[in-house]
């Protein structure tokens, strides 16, 4: 599906809770879809500095506007723990 190794970053307020849960789900989806991807986490205050080379950024609808302009595709997730929502969202993003 995708040849290049993807860089996916999960962003939350402090990089401690929500983004780590997102990362667990993203990794499961990546495996399910047989993708090659590096998944990392960051907090909103340092996000801008580290997101330069990211392909996909995943965060909540509240935090997304605080990220400003990015090259990466920004994807928002309402239910951070739900595996199904993450899978559907990522599949859709990769198709676009």
């Amino acid at each position: 599906m995708v040849n290049k190794r993807l860089k996916i970053v999960a962003v939350c307020g402090m990089g401690l809770g929500s983004s780590l849960i997102l990362k667990m789900n993203i990794e499961k989806v990546v495996k399910d879809l047989n993708l090659e991807a590096d998944v990392s986490t960051t907090d909103i205050s340092t996000a801008k500095a580290v997101l330069g080379d990211a392909d996909i950024v995943i965060t909540s609808p509240e935090l997304a506007p605080q990220l400003g302009e990015l090259k990466a595709k920004v994807v928002t997730i309402k239910n951070f723990v739900n595996f199904q929502e993450m899978k559907e969202t990522l599949e859709k993003t990769l198709k676009d």
Partner: protein, 154 residues
């Protein structure tokens, strides 16, 4: 494997109602402070973060996970669970919140196993909230959690 339950310990409170989401976070934080897990200042930080960044701590329908940073006064790792039978709004699309799961971690690793188990038990968070508000005391909640993880792990 009962890490989730160990992390919560006896820090469970069931209330019929609270007036504001700030009150809910404060009660959750107090449960941590009482056991020496956080400094009093940590509780103010939990509320500050929610105000600053918006109600994104409501990570799933009916469930909020307020927390602050390790350097905000987290002395050790611990979790508290506040069940609010009538729910409270945080201003999130996942409102109303019935379960407030507060936590503190002194570093970026101590809580990873807990988060993993949290994600498992919250897969159907609406059903979980429904269950928890129907229980009459903490023992029923503990039993439910125990059973949930013994099923998952066998």
């Amino acid at each position: 494997m009962l890490n989730f339950l160990e992390a919560i310990g006896n820090r469970i409170e069931i209330l019929d109602r609270v007036d504001t989401w700030e009150e809910a976070v404060r009660i959750g934080g107090k449960l941590l402070e009482k056991d020496g897990i956080v400094e009093p200042n940590y509780i103010d930080k939990m509320i500050e973060v929610c105000k600053e960044l918006g109600p994104y701590v409501v990570i799933a329908p009916r469930v909020a996970i307020p927390h602050a940073r390790p350097e905000d006064g987290a002395k050790s790792f611990g979790v508290s669970l506040l069940v609010i039978r009538n729910g409270i709004n945080f201003g999130s699309y996942n409102d109303p919140v019935y379960l407030v799961i507060s936590f503190a971690t002194p570093d970026k690793e101590s809580h990873l196993e807990f988060l993993q188990e949290l994600a498992e038990i919250l897969q159907d968070s609406e059903k979980l909230a429904e269950q928890f508000i129907s229980f009459k005391d903490k023992e029923e909640i503990k039993d439910y959690i125990k059973k949930f993880f013994s099923k998952v792990n066998t």
